[in-house]
Subunit: 414 residues, 2 copies
């Protein structure tokens, strides 16, 4: 793919400049983009209207159209997001753990940009601005490969970035959007080791698996969340009902929403009818095992595949288990290592769950919905990593950096 | 590959136990292995003799035979290495950055094992014990795929681990050695995403590139070092001669040895003859550009490919450059992002070099040979990462871990 090689070459050059800007210079670009997004609202909306019209002709579904659609309000939210990134502390340049070795060498770990960050994503045009903003703040060039359905909208947003960057006298290629939206360009990007330092897929499970399976560029897996709430035998019923209801219904289409409910058998009679009532009232379809179906007559029988399904919808699977150990085994088997919660007043069960569940975020007595950069206090996030290398959980600015050892000597040899 | 799937399944089970051992239990295993290595010295040497004899029949070269050969002394060094790992602080279980959010949630980052660590390596049998020791200390199961030429030696060492682990009443599958040493088993290991959390190649550039290009398991690139020393126009001549000589000749076969020398044109007359004399006296072959060959008559002309070659031998390439900027550009173009050093007394040149050279370790006035876990104060290392994700530079115990957010609530919902 010639286009991607060209993009890669320009990215390498732009990286030399961007990596060495100071925080004020980077913030100036971000503030200018934020202002210009407001001023050029009508241009962006016009581009978005073309995408939406084409989407309708192609028969895109409601949920995708909703993710694709921009409005004055949504554009303002994008601009406000950039202004929030301006407020975040710039991690670049900080030297950690500076120490003097016995031979007099002074060794420190300096935080530096990764270099060039590739992101492959789907229909949401706000990802374009969010990613570009986080990358600029951390001194990383970004190569964006958005979905075909959002192409005009993404282009309009990137043009505003370019105009702002150029009016600051800087290299606009610090933000680049792939123009050739084909399967080939996507595959070529996954093999662009020479130019990309990292590749982050943002989207559904299919996209993420395709990237993990095919990319030779190091990948950060994000976002697929088959999250569980386990209501222990020692649960507080009121907390249990509130947490399960919140985790499932607060925003069912996001990755930290609960998809599966596990209830201890000694608590099932006590809590399942009440949880069932709350969920059904909010329009949730319940797919349960036999015990669940006996206690919630409206529940439909669950199939084996339900335990491994991320519905991203008002559906929940439900299973009655014999012990906290069984709950943990089930979660480690079917979960996606995203967010898992136990509701219990029993100290040992809470500690066992925290220790033994293998996930990015493990909760006691709280909704899984808190797994989020803002909720964790890191500000904007570029995604939620569900893998173990480099970053796990919400990825903030620091996760877009690496370190470089800097060593000050005065002639030391071995 | 059936064998690897079986290994993977056993690894997953062993991981459940190993990840939750406390430090005392893990140290007990390591101390026992260290003692048993001494007691079973003759068994290991007998196995090693078979490998060496086969190697000779297969016509292995001197350097490989040297890496392969064990002796009573080398076995003692391996055992002492394990005892040193016992002394290192166990990072597992530590909770960092615990903080209370405005809504009362208490959120901390708990350090946990990666899970299952795969290592593909070549002829050195000590890697077997080093890796197994570091992995046990960090609660990680290891799957070892050593070179065919060291198979009997590796098996003998792993048998001692198994005996020690079993006599502690633990699952011996926390250390597993691939028995089927074929290209197929190597490829299968690179696709073992279901069971391996990370894959680390240790060996020559060919092995490492093969793993990077083919693995879908996340890889940590290690060890290839085309390291430079740049002697600036403002260098102290004595320091320059000592550092270049040390970086090249102290141990030429290792990754942090210098492979290339850059000298500022205004310093060349001053320093190159003296450096040349010191290097030639130690038997170093110099491959230089025209300017170098004029100043060091014994130098042979360098070809373009010399600038990108990691000799791992008593050979050095040498080029005269016009400025610190040119030196940095050359290093960023031909280097492998391992270890790079500037010799200068000029403050701005030193800062420029530290800022602009893109490598794991960047030095002022010191030999590149210090890039090493022990020299940096981290104790034993599992390799030196030359990539940017997860770990960069010497990888100690902490780099074999990941984090898990643990969140203590009291009923919080969004």
């Amino acid at each position: 793919m010639e286009e991607l090689v060209e993009i890669g070459k320009r990215a390498t050059i732009a990286s030399q400049q961007l990596a060495h800007l100071n925080t004020e210079e980077k913030n100036r670009v971000l503030m200018l983009v934020a202002d210009m997004l407001g001023k050029h609202e009508s241009t962006i909306l016009a581009a978005n209207a073309i995408d939406l019209e084409q989407g309708r002709q192609m028969g895109l579904k409601g949920a995708i159209v909703d993710r694709l659609a921009l409005s004055g309000e949504r554009i303002k939210a994008i601009a406000d997001g950039l202004r929030e990134v301006v407020q975040l502390e710039d991690p670049i340049g900080e030297i950690e753990e500076m120490k003097k070795r016995p031979n007099g060498l002074l060794i420190g770990k300096k935080r530096v940009p990764l270099g060039v960050v590739g992101v492959i994503y789907e229909s949401r045009p706000n990802v374009t601005a969010d990613v570009a903003g986080l990358c600029i703040k951390t001194g990383n060039v970004c190569v964006l490969r958005g979905g075909k359905e959002a192409f005009q909208s993404n282009n309009a947003i990137v043009r505003i970035f370019h105009e702002a960057i150029e009016s600051c006298g800087l290299d606009p290629h610090m933000v680049q959007l792939v123009q050739n939206i084909t399967r080939e360009s996507s595959v070529a990007m996954m093999k662009l080791n020479e130019y990309l330092d990292i590749l982050i897929p943002r989207g559904g499970a299919g996209l993420i698996q395709a990237v993990v399976q095919n990319s030779t560029v190091p990948v950060i897996e994000t976002g697929v969340g088959n999250c569980h709430v386990y209501v222990d035998e020692a649960a507080d019923v009121k907390k249990a009902v509130a947490i399960v209801h919140n985790a499932k219904t607060h925003r069912p289409g996001v990755c930290n929403a609960a998809e599966s409910l596990l209830v201890h058998q000694d608590m099932a009679d006590n809590v399942l009818p009440e949880i069932g009532e709350a969920l059904l009232k909010s329009g949730v379809e319940i797919r349960g095992d036999d015990a669940t179906c006996r206690l919630i007559p409206e529940a439909r029988p669950a199939k084996e595949e339900d335990w491994g399904t991320e519905y991203l919808d008002l559906v929940i699977s439900c299973k009655v288990v014999g012990s906290v150990e069984e709950a943990v085994d089930h979660i480690n088997r079917y979960g996606t290592m995203h967010s898992e919660s136990i509701v219990t007043e029993n100290y040992s069960h809470a500690q066992y769950f925290l220790d033994r569940v293998d996930a990015a975020a493990v909760y006691v007595n709280a909704s899984t919905r808190f797994t989020d950069g803002f909720e964790f206090g890191y500000g904007a996030e570029i995604g939620i990593s569900t893998q173990k290398l480099h970053a796990r959980g919400p990825m903030g600015l620091k996760e877009l950096t690496t370190n470089k050892y800097v060593i000050y000597g005065n002639g030391q040899i071995r």
